[in-house]
Amino acid sequence: MKLLDVEIAENKMIANGIYLLSFESEYLANAFKPGNFVNILVEKDSIYPLLRRPFSISFVKENKVFIGYKVVGRGTQILSQKKKGDTINVLGPLGNSFLVDRFDGKVAVVGGGVGIFPLLSLCHELKKARNEVDVFLGFRSRSDLFFVEEFKEVSDNLFISTDDGSIGYKGNAVEVFKTKIEEENYKVAFSCGPKPMLSALKSLNLTFKCYISLEEKMACGIGACLCCSIKGKDGNMLHVCSDGPVFDIMEVEI
């Protein structure tokens, strides 16, 4: 990991309140593995927001790093106003990554809302490792859709669902995934999304491995502040930033 001052190449709205930001960094593009995240200082010498903000790296293309985010508070609002050529300070790559292998059978990828972001490069790598990949993406509504074309390119089957049924299946991504479990022989599942979604996934008691990417408020992003601690199954404390963000769903309390 390194501290880098980078110049924003592009920062555009791709859906309702959802942005995609990119910058050039040969180091990050090479060091990156799917699941990694970065800690971005959106404004130097700012006292509000004060802390860096963690964002997953969505994908890299040549030397360009792409970060997707949703405007939820002051930090992301300031970030959304940044223009091409503005400088931001980035700490990364941080955290562990998804296990990518050639699995002997189908692979399922389940994403909800902004949890979809880190899954795009994962799918890309899963396909590169010659897996058959089914992707389940859940959005609130038609106007919230993003990355659909991109996921089509890196999946064998793409299932879209919306909470209001305005496009695709009515319901969430886990419900759709559940209907496919019996007919498909999945060997492994990967997921990222809001906590209730992950909790629903856990309650399915899958017979195969399921890896999830978690999010928690954090200050340092490197394992020093212990603000992002979560409980492991044996009561041990795990840290989302340094032990994760990717965990075996059975190893953590959700």
């Binding site: 006292i47 928690e216 408020k217 490197i222 394992g223 502040c225 212990l226 603000c227 601690s229 404390m237």
Partner: protein
């Protein structure tokens, strides 16, 4: 120019990593050179391993952060076995921050740790635990009693870390000095609270937590200044130091050394920037050493 001394312990520079913000150094060592620090105050150590408080433990407020980590740590045995050998590799003084839930635990920890570290920081000020911590630290009699007992069993200098959550912090400073403390460090975080107005729930699971960051700096400077008038032992000042200018304020108010905490999260390079800034300030203002700045405020 930058060297300072605290009860015979020479710090090559006056910048110490503040407890609770720096783990046991290992994490930051991947990013910065730990040799840059004059000292490192460890994550608070307890006798037994502790899981800490439930989530959420952190929220951001205007000019600062509120945390309620609750002393999550691996316990003293694991610290000595697994963390200390790593820290020892660096040319920086090691300060063990200790936390007891009764007097006996403080004594036990000091006995165990003092042969291994350069100094002990007795944390009588953690706001995020139900027993010990700030509960002891608010009462000058308890501060006196615990400091005196810890001092008796320690083979290294003792720093007593004070809480700002009192009417008059100088009463605690005087109690610590009277009991034989070699130095005091102040301030720990200020008890604070924030509420999400949409959910109407507190933003910290434990409802209240400790506020750190730039918002608390003027309070910390005032408290260092007040204590400097009342005690003759060295003061280690901290609270919202973000740059060298903040550090200079603390020296002028009466601090012999400073600790930096929250800034490490925002700018891991802060230590080298502050070090360089202090050096330049000394040169530009014709001072020969940091010692010349201590308490050198003009009223």
């Amino acid at each position: 120019m930058l060297e300072v001394e605290i009860s015979g312990v020479k710090l090559k520079n006056p910048i110490i990593a503040a407890s609770g913000t720096f783990g046991f150094g290992r994490e930051f060592s991947r990013l910065i050179d730990l040799n840059l620090f004059g000292g490192i105050s460890t994550k608070g150590i307890t006798l037994k391993k502790r899981a800490g408080n439930p989530q959420p433990r952190l929220c951001e407020v205007y000019g600062g952060i509120i945390n309620s980590v609750g002393l999550e740590n691996p316990g003293v045995e694991a610290f000595i076995k697994e963390e200390l050998p790593f820290l020892r590799r660096f040319d920086t003084k090691i300060i063990a921050n200790i936390n007891g839930f009764n007097k006996e635990e403080f004594i036990e920890l000091a006995k165990i740790l003092s042969p291994f570290v350069d100094m002990i920081e007795v944390n009588l000020s953690c706001p995020n635990v139900k027993e010990g911590g700030m509960i002891f630290g608010k009462d000058p009699n308890r501060v006196y009693e615990i400091t005196r007992e810890v001092k008796k069993v320690s083979s290294c200098p003792i720093i007593v870390k004070l809480t700002p959550n009192v009417t008059d912090i100088t009463e605690l400073a005087k109690a610590a000095e009277k009991a034989g403390a070699d130095a005091i460090s102040l301030i720990n975080t200020i008890s604070a609270m924030a509420i999400d107005i949409e959910t109407r729930r507190p933003l910290i699971k434990m409802v209240t937590g400790g506020l750190s960051g730039p918002a608390i700096k003027p309070i910390a400077v005032r408290m260092v200044y007040e204590c400097f008038q009342k005690v003759n032992i060295p003061i280690i000042g901290m609270g919202g130091i973000m740059n060298y200018k903040d550090a200079i304020e603390f020296f002028l108010a009466g601090a012999t050394a400073i600790q930096i905490g929250t800034v490490n999260f925002v700018n891991p390079n802060a230590v080298s920037e502050i070090k360089e800034g202090i050096e330049n300030y000394l040169k530009d203002h014709g001072f020969e050493s940091v010692k010349d700045l201590v308490g050198n405020i003009i009223i």
